[in-house]
Symmetry: C2
Subunit: 471 residues, 2 copies
């Protein structure tokens, strides 16, 4: 029966119950019963996430650090490392680990089975919101990037990305095999994790520093995009190596070709699409006449990116680049801002929340071997990316340190490698822990380092936009 | 193993995989594997939903009808009645009914089990987005409403709500028992379904007509809010009647007291909160300095509304009313608009998508009895609400027809009654079908009728804001 409780909640019921003519409706009665509680959990999680992001972001700014660092740390505080308010079943948490679930259980007097199912649904909802957050972030970054500028620095970006992938990969794999006698496949996996660059974190910091449109900023963003594509390819190679001991050459060629065709194709086709977009937006007269067509385009491109087994964020970034070329740019930018403001923090806080700083505790004996390997990986991770700055050619007076430092954060992409490594079973515990520590430290060190690097700049900045810092 | 496919998608992986130190990570490998496909499904659903809302909304406007009607009809076209692009498992659909799932299955070569699980997760995500949409809609309506105006018309609104609940309930229940020899409990259930007013649809239409701040508009919104509270109470009474044959008096008193305390309490406390809100928003200097604190407040109030077994939308509406009293009103209004623009259509399109117009087909013999009962219910539904206009007192020159017509749409609240009725097992098929037809027709007729009623207005409108019509 649908009423085991005097809970009557029309709006939340509606999405779970409808006309009920189908015979299967009763079978989903339990889920329908839980639906308002899932919404309660999502709302409470969002309140916690927003509080964490704002308190963290503001404290970070007061200390003259980039706000996104505070958002990540805010996530760490409310997440698996400390308060256990925002935890996820796919990081191994169960419902009773979640403080929010404990609160919901107390309010609604739930059975353990219901709690597990509500926890799962609520976590999935927050994850989807976080994913929409990073898609919109990349769309916004695309909107703020200048296609002409990006094309101008295209070669440099490609070289930086290539160096930033090969140097850490080679040094990391060889070093692990030589110094730590790690077998080849786990060493290659760890080396692959060193190649990642978090385009989300790096571009957010650049935007906060007002450096997104500087030459350095554009090289970093371009290189991070190319790095993302190279990362997809490296990951595919390594994963098939780990699984079968062989490399699926066809798949590697497929990924290289599809990524290139997708990015270049969408930008070329975009020139034609531009005209129609402006024409359509001018004709529409109901609310959302600009932002809805833009989101249709962005989400469709993100869908395409995912559908051809690349990445949703690549599609969103390409969509932003294309729409940046229209007359509607300014207006669209202004309307996307508040949407990004409420969705992007969900991404950063959940990235922080999923990290378990427990692996950093040297008092726990099994952490120690990992900490030693981690120290090695961190050194390789930083040096391997910093050197990329010196691979930039033909750009007199460029801040090479800033370019190199901008490539350091591994962020969510590094976590992916670590996660897939853990699931593949080829990594032992110390190496897993070391990879995670490397990802955490490069992610958290990069924002202050990047700020420092730009302060050391020998030339005046081309663009400083306070409007980018204060929304 | 996590790689059964050459799908490598870093951003979507990240939300499903993390450091992987927990032993349970492998157990969730299947879900992690599906996570990027769920996102693909959500993105494609959003593209379809936005296209449906914009095409429907614009066509509606061209025919001089309120855009929200077109959004609902757009939902009908893409939903269970026609294209089967946006369908929901809790309306009895299975994965193979969903065209989007068929597309995903084709792209990713999925097993039937995976498809079922992906369909479930994707539908839950869209439902949560729709729920956030109606929460933000009510927050925006609260922001656009004037607390002083609402208090001025408070008594009238209460009378209108009371008449609009008792007349259709009494006439519907008595008529069904007298003319159709329906047993008491199902008759009471159907009568209860007649009491609902969809605050979402009615206030959206008012806003689109630029009538939200007119006297009529404020009475309708006030009455719809009170009606929502009365609806919760009626639903609780009827549901406990259907279940046990008795009324749980304690629960009824609890709901009445908690709803009153919640709404009045939050508005009174809001006067103090106002000051701190402005002070905090002025101090914050990172992006989202205004919109994030506002959403923390709105989502917390919505959470509270849900947690005390009332409704999330009541909390969001109260939050909007409170923040409307601050100096930041204009700025906040402007920033909430694009957020509402992308989330609210998801709500209206899914309401339309969940409706199955198949029950209206008179060629199917089992629909006929329902159609006859439906005709009776529709007459009661319209007359029972239109008379409420004549219960307004002490307001010379008020457009009584507009007030009455504004109360007609049953919308999502009516669907809830129908859904709970179906799940309770007390309603036979013809009565179920009749209730659904009544909800569909009152929902779709109300917007054009309301527009007509306002055109018949004998006095000039107080407020017409084209800015409300074109975002």
């Amino acid at each position: 029966m649908i009423f085991s409780e005097p809970i009557v909640n029309s709006v939340t019921w509606v999405t779970s119950l409808t006309h009920g003519l189908q015979p299967t409706l009763l079978a989903t009665a339990t889920e329908a019963e839980n639906a308002p509680i899932v919404l309660t959990g999502v709302l409470l999680s969002l309140v916690v996430i927003y509080l964490a992001s704002k308190i963290g972001g503001e404290l970070s700014r007061m200390m003259d650090l980039p706000p996104v660092l505070g958002e990540l740390l805010g996530g760490v505080v409310v997440g698996a490392s400390a308060l256990h308010l925002v935890v996820f079943p796919d990081s191994g948490a169960i419902a009773s680990d979640s403080l929010i679930m404990t609160i919901l259980q107390f309010i609604n007097n739930l059975t353990p089975d219901s709690v597990t199912s509500i926890f799962q649904s609520q976590s999935e909802a927050i994850s989807i919101l976080a994913e929409l957050g990073v898609i919109i972030l990349l769309f916004e970054i695309g909107l703020e990037s200048d296609l002409k500028e990006l094309t101008k620095v295209g070669y440099q970006a490609a070289v930086v990305a290539f160096v930033g992938v090969t140097v850490p990969f080679a040094a990391g794999t060889a070093g692990l095999m030589f110094f730590f006698h790690t077998p080849a496949i786990p060493a290659i996996f760890a080396g692959a994790a060193l190649t990642a660059t978090s385009i989300g974190i790096t571009s957010k910091v650049l935007s906060e520093l007002g450096q997104l449109k500087s030459r350095e900023g554009q090289i970093i963003v371009g290189a991070a995009v190319i790095d993302d594509i190279l990362g997809i390819i490296v990951l595919a190679v390594v994963a098939s190596l780990a699984k079968t001991g062989e490399v699926d050459v066809f798949n590697v060629i497929y990924l290289i070709v599809s990524a290139t065709v997708f990015l270049i194709g969408s930008i070329l086709l975009g020139k034609f699409f531009n005209q129609s977009f402006v024409a359509v937006a001018n004709k529409l007269q109901t609310r959302g006449n600009l932002v809805i067509p833009a989101f249709i385009f962005a989400f469709f491109m993100a869908f395409l990116g995912n559908a051809i087994h690349l990445e949703a964020i690549l599609g969103a970034f390409a969509a932003g680049l294309v729409l940046d070329e229209t007359d509607k740019r300014k207006e669209l930018d202004q309307q996307v801002k508040p949407i990004a403001d409420i969705l992007v923090p969900i991404f950063f806080v959940t990235v922080g929340a999923k990290v378990d700083l427990g692996v950093l505790n040297p008092i726990v004996p099994e952490n120690r071997e990992g900490l030693i390997i981690a120290t090695f990986l961190i050194v390789v991770a930083i040096i391997g990316k910093v050197v990329t700055g010196w691979s930039v050619f033909g750009q007199a007076g460029i801040n090479r340190l800033a370019v190199g430092v901008g490539m350091i954060p591994r962020g969510e992409v590094g976590l992916v490698f670590a996660g897939i490594g853990a699931a593949s079973g080829v990594l032992d515990k110390p190496l897993q822990a070391a990879m995670i520590i490397m990802v955490i430290l490069t992610t958290f060190l990069a924002p202050p380092l990047l700020r420092f690097a730009f302060k050391q700049s020998v030339e005046p900045q081309e663009t400083i936009e306070p409007a980018d810092v204060i929304g």
